[in-house]
């Protein structure tokens, strides 16, 4: 192999310019060329204890695939990644690498880590663009598994089981498979064609996907088990229920959950001019919250034509829970960060005429300034309101992005399924729930977390389901 690349910095990612991209919905980052990928891969030392692998929730053999990239063997690199990950094109784009593989990289001691996420994305895209080989179908083993939910945990679990010869059916409540990958994460961060490609790959493995199936309503977990002959069930129904602040004015027109705003834009394609689904295009938009979803909502609002988009967050810049990359992109695109600031009331437009379109619509947001006190249970410094510091912001759209909790429907319709305080399904380290043969993973178990953690849970559960069925 050629000699190491000693550049202390990652090869920069080619991207659309900020003031071009904040007017369109095309992907922000354009991806490495083959030359860039090889050059970046050569930054890996191949260090002995490869901390990156333990930093990866699905333990991809990172040094091995990076070496293949450095050698120019991109398909070889893909095969290595694919052994551990069913959705590499997705993870290369949305994983918080800075706290996982790249955060653990030895090269952090002398500059930036190896751009592992960028390389993963490159390899997956290269494979999807060049590979024509049909997947090798494993012999069927005669056992059936049902997967509830087609988000990252469900798709991963389904893929792993299909590779082992199981007949897998995925039940999806919406009209399109992909879960949060299609309704939550915007096109400009994760093109839907890429999600579709990953789903097509699963279908090619023999996975059946049934859309429009709300499990708990049309069929229950019990019925799947007892009447439909599934040997095991995996519940990956996510954390879909949006939280609100419970402050006055929250039900005014123009106030949305991030879930609703993003679902309209992403799943229903309301950003397209000929869409049949409406979306509120605000002029002054406040997004309340500081996570990845808040960044997605803010950047979407900007692209829909807003003049001013604010991130309103009660802690400081340092405490923002979003990926650094998303914060950076949002700032470049002109999103205004109002940190140490918390809404206390939403105020309606000043009109009493019900015929006026502004009637009942939000027109301003009263906030209070915050300061950081002692660390709380989460280890983050607790925000404390500064008395008398209230002020008003003029807004015509407010998007609440405060987190989500698991949907209670499955719990309510599955006797014997144990859950925790916020409805999280109780599952052991293998994903086994309180019911034999029923496994769960992803946000339905942990509450809102990341795509890769959900995938890890789907993977673990798939292995446990295989063991369970084989030992029956």
């Amino acid at each position: 192999m050629a000699k190491f690349n000693m550049n202390p910095k990652k090869n920069p990612m080619p991207s659309q310019l900020p003031y071009v991209r904040n007017r369109n919905f095309e992907e922000v980052e354009l991806g490495y060329t083959e030359e860039m990928a090889i050059d970046e891969a050569k930054r890996c030392f191949g260090c002995k204890n490869h901390p990156c692998v333990s930093g990866c929730p699905v333990n991809i053999d990172i040094p091995a695939f990076v070496t293949k990239v450095a050698e120019g063997d991109f398909e070889g690199a893909y095969e290595i990644i694919h052994r551990s990950s069913s959705l590499p094109a997705v993870c290369g784009r949305v994983c918080p690498q800075e706290t996982q593989c790249e955060g653990a990289c030895t090269r952090n001691n002398m500059g930036e880590p190896v751009g592992i996420g960028r390389l993963e994305r490159f390899v997956a895209d290269w494979h999807n663009a060049h590979s024509t080989a049909a997947p090798i179908l494993p012999p069927k083993n005669g056992h059936k598994v049902a997967v509830v939910g087609s988000g990252p945990s469900g798709l991963t679990c389904a893929g792993d089981l299909a590779k082992l010869g199981y007949e897998v059916t995925v039940y999806e409540a919406l009209h399109l498979a992909g879960g949060v990958l299609v309704y939550g994460i915007p096109e400009f961060r994760l093109p839907k064609a890429i999600v579709q490609k990953e789903i097509d790959n699963l279908k090619a493995l023999g996975v059946k996907i049934e859309t429009n199936m709300v499990i708990g309503r049309v069929l229950t977990i019990e019925e799947l088990k007892n009447e439909h002959g599934y040997d095991a069930i995996f519940i990956g129904s996510g954390a879909g229920l949006p939280m609100f602040m419970n402050i006055p004015g929250e039900n005014l027109k123009g106030v949305f959950s991030a879930n609703e705003f993003l679902t309209r834009s992403n799943l229903m394609k309301a950003y397209l001019p000929d869409s049949t689904t409406p979306i509120h295009r605000g002029r002054n938009v406040a997004v309340v919250g500081g996570g990845n979803v808040a960044m997605d909502a803010a950047r979407t609002a900007k692209r829909l034509g807003a003049e001013n988009v604010y991130i309103v967050y009660r802690r400081g810049m340092e405490e923002l829970p979003a990926r650094r990359e998303e914060i950076k992109h949002a700032m470049e695109e002109g999103i205004i960060f109002k940190t140490l600031c918390n809404p206390v009331e939403l105020l309606p437009a000043k009109t009493d005429d019900p015929k006026d379109p502004a009637f009942g619509s939000v027109a301003a947001m009263r906030c209070i300034r915050m300061e950081l006190g002692e660390p709380d249970a989460s280890g983050r410094r607790r925000p404390v309101a500064i008395a008398g510091s209230e002020f008003e912001m003029e807004v015509d759209c407010v998007i609440m992005s405060l987190g989500t909790s698991p949907n209670p429907l499955i719990k309510a319709t599955t006797p014997g399924l144990e859950t925790k305080k916020w409805g999280e399904i109780v599952a052991d380290e293998n994903g086994l729930t309180s019911i034999e043969g029923v496994y769960a993973g992803g946000d339905a178990v942990t509450g809102a977390a990341t795509v890769i953690l959900a995938m890890g849970a789907g993977k673990t559960a798939a292995a446990a389901i295989d063991k369970y069925i084989q030992s029956k």
Partner: protein, 280 residues
């Protein structure tokens, strides 16, 4: 794809369809709803279930042509299919332990009130129905209501059929005469339900309303359907669609139902142009 096995125009603006959806037909209960998309790029709209045939595996929907999506839906013919049809969603109407009920339907809301009346009759309850329409041409389901009701008032605003006046006229008369019900169940336009609740409130007559707000997913995910009930926020799709009418903030619900007036008007016009039809 979900096949339209029967289509019938009940009046110039209201259409009935039986949709082949055996799994939903097996589980559906009065008061629950479905969400449909007419075609691949269609909008998701909720429609309350107007009936079901568990043996034939069909679910009946009755809709009024009010916007772009219902316009497109109305142009689908028997034998054709609609792209998506999901349900049954929401909590069924509570019918246990009711011995005497007053069912009040307004306009196309009668289509949703009917299965509730039928179920109560089936359970042996005394059913008093009041159905109201703007005018005679818009009358639907009179025979069906007559068949499952102990008494039936048919009201038209202009007096062109049945009795003249709105649904509150016979309701007020009955309440004033000392008539009481285990429950009044009212389904129809928001303004009508608001006035029914105002009428029953002084008598402390328990009143249930069926809300049909704007929603996207119908499973609790978007929160677009939220409304204030008894001072707290509820999601119509999972907590409802039935609520205690005396607790519902109708003015807020009416305001929220007008979230996208310009878009809706434009989409309706575009859909009508597509079929070369005049916008009504």
């Amino acid at each position: 794809m979900y096949k339209i096995v029967r289509k019938e125009n009940l009046n110039p603006t209201v259409t009935l369809m039986d949709i082949e959806a055996p799994l939903i037909a097996k589980k559906a209960q009065p008061g629950q709803f479905i969400i449909l998309r007419v075609d691949e790029n269609g909008e998701r709209i909720p429609l309350t279930i107007a009936g079901y045939d568990r043996d034939k595996g069909t679910v009946t929907i009755i809709f009024q042509i009010v916007g772009a999506t219902t316009e497109l839906l109305n142009h689908k013919e028997q034998g054709e299919s609609i792209h998506d049809f999901v349900g049954p969603l929401g909590t069924p109407t509570h019918t246990d332990g009711i011995h005497k009920a007053c069912i009040i339907g307004g306009g196309v809301g009668c289509a949703i009130a009917l299965p509730v009346a039928q179920k109560l009759k089936e359970l042996g309850a005394e059913v008093h129905s009041i159905i109201g329409f703007r005018t005679k041409d818009l009358l639907i389901l009179e025979k069906e209501f007559a068949a499952c009701s102990d008494t039936l008032h048919v009201m038209t605003d202009d007096g062109s059929y049945g009795e003249k006046g709105n649904v509150c006229v016979p309701l007020n008369a009955a309440l004033e005469a000392g008539e009481r019900y285990d429950v009044v169940i009212t389904i129809g336009p928001l303004v009508m339900m608001k006035f029914v609740c105002l009428a029953t409130k002084p008598y402390e007559q328990k009143t249930i309303v069926s809300m049909n707000p704007i929603m996207v997913d119908g499973t609790g995910m978007c929160g677009g359907c939220r409304l204030t009930v008894g001072g707290t926020t509820k999601f119509a799709c999972v907590d409802g669609p039935d609520f205690d009418g005396h607790e519902v903030d109708f003015d807020e619900a009416i305001s929220r139902s007008r979230s996208y007036p310009a878009f809706e008007a434009h989409a309706r016009e575009a859909a009508c142009n597509l079929f070369k039809k005049e916008v009504q």
